[in-house]
Amino acid sequence: MKSNLFFPVMLFILVLTAAFSMTLGKYPLTLNDIGGFFLFKIFGAGSMEPERYQLLRSLLIDIRLPRIIAAILIGASLAVAGTSFQAMFVNPLVSPSLLGVLAGASFGAALGMVFSKSWVAVQLLTFCFGFVAVLISVGIARMHKGNTILLLVLGGVISGALFTSLLSIIKYIADPFNQLPAIVQWLMGGLSFVDRKVLLTAGIPQLVSIVLITFFSGYLNALSMGDEEARALGIPVEKIRMFLIFLATLMSALTVVLAGIIGWVGLIIPHAARMIVGPDNKVLVPASAFIGAIYLVVVDDVSRMLFNVEIPIGITTSLIGIPFFAIILRKAKKGWN
């Protein structure tokens, strides 16, 4: 899509989706309530009883808004991480979990839930083990000579398998009454875990990473032609790749810190974006960010509105993602070349 209008339109849709999501919730609020609240809060217009104001503030600013912002950040992060991985590894079938970051982070979270008392420690462990897993993949790839991309993928398989089995050990020794259900819940993902403080801490590096990857998307185009060609263009392939892997790991690990494991977004959103804007990463990366953000906000709306109980968002994204992926599989190959 060459039109200059594309990104403003995407931004508009995102804002519209977010605004619409603000009106959704189990607590019945009318548009008048919401409009009145914001008029009162921002312009001091109209009047409102303190009690009512407090309730609306809590519902809109403390409950719904952080959740929507988290959905935007997580959706965009996973989609951008997925896009850059797909370009870097010259393969449309990879997702951000390729180098083991999600497996490592899951293990870290479970480890913390079983052995630590403080939730901050759980979050730190989640984050750190996401990185440890990727470091192991990269380390394995560095140990051997040969096709770097292939070795990285194999390193990722090994590291992912390692942390998956370590996670099983933790599940096995966890207290089956309290800890195990908590771990299982966490692995299914859910935006109800998000709280504002963590959102601020995790959100900024995520935003910075998205911007940086967008900035470096020209290099992604070169990398997606293969290492030889990229080197021929005078690009320091290894350095750029490691830097991009670092950013993608940072973003992905933070999504787990925020909301547990949310699968499939990083795999299908880049495809959807590629179908719309084509394979040029300069456009594709920001487009993925927008589409991922919109997608996750909508899916989270479904998760919290469909039943009286919430469906873990990891389940919803998989259930939507799998058939979508099956359908576009044929097109994916075509779109790539």
Binding site: K26, D62, I63, A174, P176, F177, P181, A182, S192, F193
Partner: protein, 349 residues
């Protein structure tokens, strides 16, 4: 084919086997009907027992922990002070089928239990698979069945009979029965509309809960049945997710919290300030040492938990000194003497 030496060895073995068979026959006696209606020949005496699931072990902690051949789950360091020394030093054998780490059948054989205590919350859910794998042990087993908390007095009497600890279990059974009747009497005197409504918060976000008919909230049912989340339990695991908006709408008078992470943040988190119970500062963290007073795992500790809950919900009608009650309970059921301060540390963590 056999030389003399071999023949002698074989003869010795035959004699030995014959002797050991006759010894076991002498030791076997006492037919008993267990709580699942099965007729079992009990060995006599029963020295060591093993429970294939943690539930069975929990009740043994209160009946006579020195009879346990091993534990299903390791005792956490912080909880060791709530157990007598003989329990702390027991080896961890694991469990059969389900719940946590599985036992190695040979380790179990080595531990030589005389009897297995099978625990079943529900007669229909008797686990055939577990029975099959336990048959290899060739150790008799009895079922203790507790579908509800109100079955505990009978379970205690039954175990007392089987394990020859009748005097002790009579006390435990009596205490349980008295507590159940006492709370029932108090709750019945209070009209339904005056009973406070309760939200049961589970998970670090406090947004998992249980339907009112769930086995996980039996104490709420016994203490007035005013769980705000009224629905039919869809699965055994529970942990039903709800949204905070739903909780605000429920307007619970009291919140019973299962998770310390949640409890520590609930009064600070602005999002929770519009929940009625938080506004009125009526959020309570469930005591959890050495195991939970409310659920997860369901154990005899719930008998004390029922007193605790009734005291929170009806402080006017049910005036008790919670610290004293708890100390008495720990002394009677767990055989440990805690100071008032230690007990306070358990009740108000």
């Amino acid at each position: 084919m056999f030389d003399q030496k071999n023949t002698r060895i074989i003869a010795a073995i035959v004699v030995f086997i014959a002797l050991s068979i006759s010894v076991t026959t002498i030791a076997q006696a006492l037919p008993v009907t267990d709580m699942a209606g099965r007729k079992v020949d009990l060995p006599d005496p029963v020295r060591k027992v093993y429970a294939p699931s943690p539930y069975g072990s929990y009740i043994m902690y209160s009946v006579d922990p020195s009879m346990l051949a091993g534990l299903n789950l390791p005792i956490k360091d912080e909880d060791k002070k709530y157990f007598p020394k003989e329990v702390r030093n027991l080896p961890v054998i694991g469990s059969i089928a389900g719940q946590g780490q599985s036992a190695n059948i040979e380790v179990l054989l080595k531990a030589k239990p005389d009897l297995l205590i099978m625990w079943s919350a529900n007669r229909s859910a008797i686990n055939k698979k577990t029975e099959e794998s336990l048959k290899r042990l060739n150790v008799p087993f009895v079922y203790a069945v507790a579908e509800n908390l109100s079955d505990y007095p009978d379970v205690y009497l039954f175990l007392g009979k089987v394990l020859k600890r009748e005097e002790r279990t009579k006390k435990l059974s009596g205490y349980s029965r008295k507590t159940l009747e006492e709370i029932k009497g108090i709750v019945n005197r209070i009209p339904v509309e005056r009973r406070p409504s309760v939200y049961y918060a589970e998970g670090v976000d406090g947004l998992s809960t249980e339907c009112n008919d769930s086995i996980h909230v039996e104490l709420l049912q016994l203490a007035g049945d005013k769980n705000v989340h009224r629905c039919h339990t869809s699965n055994h695991k529970g942990f039903e997710k709800v949204s905070l908006e739903q909780v605000i709408l429920y307007k619970p008078d009291v919140i019973i919290a299962q998770d310390k992470v949640f409890f520590d943040k609930v009064f600070k988190d602005p999002a929770w300030q519009n929940v009625k119970a938080v506004k009125e500062k009526r959020v309570y963290l469930i005591p959890r040492h050495p195991f939970n007073w409310f659920d997860r795992p369901p154990s005899f500790m719930r008998i004390l938990g029922l007193k605790w809950l009734a005291n929170i919900l009806y402080p006017g009608e049910y005036k008790i000194d919670m610290v004293k009650e708890a100390r008495d309970f720990y002394r009677l059921f767990l055989g440990v003497e805690l100071s008032r301060d230690e007990m306070k540390g358990v009740i108000y963590p």
